[in-house]
Symmetry: C2
Amino acid sequence: MSILVVGSVAFDGIKTPAGKVDRCLGGSATYFSLAASFFADVRVVAVVGDDFTAEDQEIFNKRGVDMSGLQRASGKTFFWRGEYGENMNEAHTLSTDLNVFETFNPKIPASYLETDYLFLGNIDPVLQTNVRKQMSNAQLVAGDTMNYWINGKSAELAESLAGMDILLINDGEARMLGKTNSLPRAAQKILSLGPKVLVIKHGEYGATAFFKEAGMHPFRAPALPIEEVVDPTGAGDCFAGGFMGYIASQTNLNRDVLKKAMFYGGVMGSFAVERFGTERFKDLTNKEIEARFQLFRDLSHLD
Amino acid sequence: MSILVVGSVAFDGIKTPAGKVDRCLGGSATYFSLAASFFADVRVVAVVGDDFTAEDQEIFNKRGVDMSGLQRASGKTFFWRGEYGENMNEAHTLSTDLNVFETFNPKIPASYLETDYLFLGNIDPVLQTNVRKQMSNAQLVAGDTMNYWINGKSAELAESLAGMDILLINDGEARMLGKTNSLPRAAQKILSLGPKVLVIKHGEYGATAFFKEAGMHPFRAPALPIEEVVDPTGAGDCFAGGFMGYIASQTNLNRDVLKKAMFYGGVMGSFAVERFGTERFKDLTNKEIEARFQLFRDLSHLD
């Protein structure tokens, strides 16, 4: 099965206690597609500028990611510069240059229209809704959002959420969107806005899935305690990529598949943070993924 | 098997978004002993003042807790007053009146000396070490501490830690004691100070056990997403009580027992927060405990 992801392809300048890179490939669609590519065929719709090189393209090619939906605009690619302190959970943004991303208007190539799985990366909810409409045959639609849209475009976000089956956000976003500090109560409110499943990512503590269906208990997947986090950038997008990738690799979406997808999400997030940018995905193998899946299982299973 | 706990018996005045109580029974030894009493025989060493009534005593009696080590001093019992905001994870202390607890000098009754399991509640590490010496025959010693001792009595705490097999603390305490934000790295440092096992409690995210033994992977137990937390006071002590109680109920301490103990710790913590003070333990049944254990298992197990 194939997944279409719409989001950002960007360059990042990142400083962490483990080191520094001036420019590496990043962006939500990049991380998502590389992580998902270990499980399913992935198609990307995004925009880049003149500074996107054949070498950058090669990172996607090596993982067999279909980039025929990559739009090229004149100008520079979205550039984000950020820094992480000792507390790796939060990035301090130093600069955000939207560049060609500012006028991004995602167009779905004809060859993508029959894609079964759609992931709406963290972009303007108006664009998410436009894409959702173009992809009316999608079997399953998942998405992401962030504080900026929750605060600034709540009506537009509500429309986008109404078209999603699964929403994946982090603790802070869930509290803001659900307007309460209690995650279970925030989950109830958010599920009333549209999604059937809400996955709340807790960073180093794992993630919890909440279900709209009455009487269906939440499910919690652990994260690995990682000694040396080199660069947390993209961990959440890689979680989403592993999660959606695993779902797309299975014939049906039932509770068991969703539970395993939560584990694979955590697994892919844990690889992402081991090196700067997308570096870890260059030589990652399926065997390593399976071994870490077992480690996550052992980490939290009684028997 | 029996457990001896040394800690505080106190009265608390608590305000949370769910309500308010002016005075209820509290303290680390109280919460610990009530939670542990569902699994093992428990003996308490603590001090109370003239205001400790037969009614207060009855709360322990009902759970069969042995209070022959309860010291009575003239004056008032330790009183803590605190408030929780919307973010239930942190208490805002309004007042701490140590009262008779200020000069507490734990004496172990002769009838307690052969107790196999010892839990050193969160008291001055000098007193912890004194008790540890009096209980030289204990099979297993676990303990707790807090920021106040980590900052103020680090040498004395180091001596106490050297005598513990298991230390149970929360995220903030682990980061402070390990002098790093990375929990796995903090764990390594703390394990080098003495304990063979370090249990870090993550509040609503569960808890992780780290092991000194080379090559032994950590183990993570989930917590239940609880919609309505009425009063978080004592949740950590109840975790320790369920954890130690389950260990004391088993013949050997191996990795499997420790894993289940982590789950039972979370289970007892989750009951504690459902009502103010120790209220929930008045009518709690073993059947309810087993049902919640299964719920925790289902919450995070793949199969």
